[in-house]
Symmetry: C2
Subunit: 135 residues, 2 copies
Amino acid sequence: MATTTAARRREIARTEYDAFLAACPSRQLLDRLSDKWVGLVLAALSNGPQRYNEIARTVAGVSQKMLTQTLRTLERDGLATRTVTPTVPVRVDYELTDLGQSLLPVMRAIKDWAEAHMDDVLLARSRYDMEKMTG
Amino acid sequence: MATTTAARRREIARTEYDAFLAACPSRQLLDRLSDKWVGLVLAALSNGPQRYNEIARTVAGVSQKMLTQTLRTLERDGLATRTVTPTVPVRVDYELTDLGQSLLPVMRAIKDWAEAHMDDVLLARSRYDMEKMTG
DNA sequence: CCGTATCCACAATGATACTG
DNA sequence: CAGTATCATTGTGGATACGG
């Protein structure tokens, strides 16, 4: 009995913690921003409205599936709008909302830190790896 | 021949883009920050040096494996230091470096935006889902 | 042109058990 | 106390083919 208690308590702790994380605003935001394509699409849209294929060209490496998925989550979260013009063939424009615009300074804070300090990180990394090898 | 060319060009584009992303400082930073546990460990260490088990208690939901892995990457990237005191049993302290400290304002920018705007996002999300259901 | 649907490969995470 | 090693599971993204 006693042996199972520890495992059981860990399990409960994890469940509670998962709930806590799921409700944590910072984590929710980080989950969005850290998506492989969100940042790039945000950057593409920061220059004004864009058509689907324009974004696809700007974010050259993205697959159709992931671009659509990314744009859908942005729309769902109120960060971008999707406007369909029912011509033939159809035309779809995406544009940042005010909420989406307000995210740009945050992205820039990240970019600024990265450009200022990532070389330090890279240096630390190679030193660390070096020491590992030499013993 | 012509049919394979399109797929081939996409493949090349993806390879080049992957290389571009791998070299992009912002993406490298986002990859770190977005790690499930990095933000939480950073927050734990923001109050000063901590022992391994103290961090484990603060970040209640983390497994031993992930905590160790997270701390190792922070150390490797020069964001935290690891100090071993060879008593019996051994004592290990972790502490943020200046570089690690400089990351805290960035985390706070993220946290501030999240606390100010995530309810808007949640609202937009539920409206979007509602419209989906009602047709 | 702008997607959706399906399948598949691989990386990330956690549970568990063991060590100095 | 502070890890390491292994296995099982899940999630994420890409390729491909098809639809409005």
